[in-house]
Subunit: 137 residues, 3 copies
């Protein structure tokens, strides 16, 4: 069986990390799937989905690190189209744009510190994540 | 139900980004799966598969950025085996070697700008991507 | 049908790459799934799972490269919590924390050089990887 749902975001800041573990878990419960997998995937190409620690200091470190590896404000070729967000495309590539979460006994099968995050790198507008649950009742 | 197919590549350049959205969609349609997932995964360790924007400037930016983060021509330990492509292994790691695409109502469930690409970092020879479709009719 | 198993690790070094292709293949054989997918995912947020070459020189290159892109010993904000492993969170992000492996005719459907690795960046303690197999007999 399968179940599909969507999460919507509109972050006030251009860049933000939003914890979505509870929202994904809720969709898994609604799905009725007890053994399977949940795909959680950003539908926009300047945002991502990743699993890491729910610790504000580390999320701050991620932001600084991504700015160092994929700086904003460079003379990117992409900006000749009128865009100014090439760095957002690169940053989301490093963080990953999707995760597949195991479902065991009707719940997300996560380790003790695993939390699911939405990573926004070009926000301040409505964007979407698809959650596709597949497995057995 | 499941369905398996393979895409073959032999790029004239050593490094290339090839859009494969239409090929993957065609395999999904052939599969008969209407709700499920499609795994699209490079079978060689110097190529990748990723989702991003179909814009030549940005693809150019990706190439320059990868060369900066994972330069070719360095004195890599891997090259003592006679290989000269260590950077290709690193570059494909940044881009990712696979994606899982949601299938809804018999079609890829992609956002407005999502396109699927094959990323070649050591081309000029025959290489392969596996597409494994799984779900319900 | 689905099948779930776990691999345990306790690496003597803080950082290590451990080949797990055979262990994953063995779990797939036990599962009875002949067509489907196997999710192999680190359950700790300072380790990862990736597919690449089984060549010691290249694995050495990966270690040096990750230290360059995500250095240890910097003044990370995460360390104000008493932790000292922020770099491990970043390194695992670059390598990826999971892979989905296609299963065809009852075996992993891997290319000629594809090997599955567990990547440890903060070891010397017991940590876990989940393997979730899903598909048809």
């Amino acid at each position: 069986m399968t179940h599909t749902d969507y999460l919507w975001f509109n972050t006030p800041q251009r860049q933000a990390f939003v914890r979505i573990t509870d929202e994904v878990r809720s969709i898994v419960k609604q799905s009725g799937v007890r053994e399977g997998m949940a795909l959680v995937s950003a539908m926009h190409i300047t945002s991502g989905v990743f699993v890491n620690d729910w610790e504000d200091g580390l999320l701050h470190d991620f932001g600084e690190w991504l700015e160092k590896l994929a700086p904003s404000g460079l003379d990117y070729r992409h900006h000749r189209t009128g865009e100014d967000n090439a760095d957002a495309h690169l940053k989301r590539t490093i963080m990953g744009h999707q995760v597949v979460l195991p479902i065991t006994s009707g719940d997300l099968d996560l380790g003790p510190w695993e939390q699911v995050f939405y990573a926004e790198f070009d926000g301040q507008r409505r964007k979407r994540v698809v959650v596709k649950v597949m497995g057995e009742a």
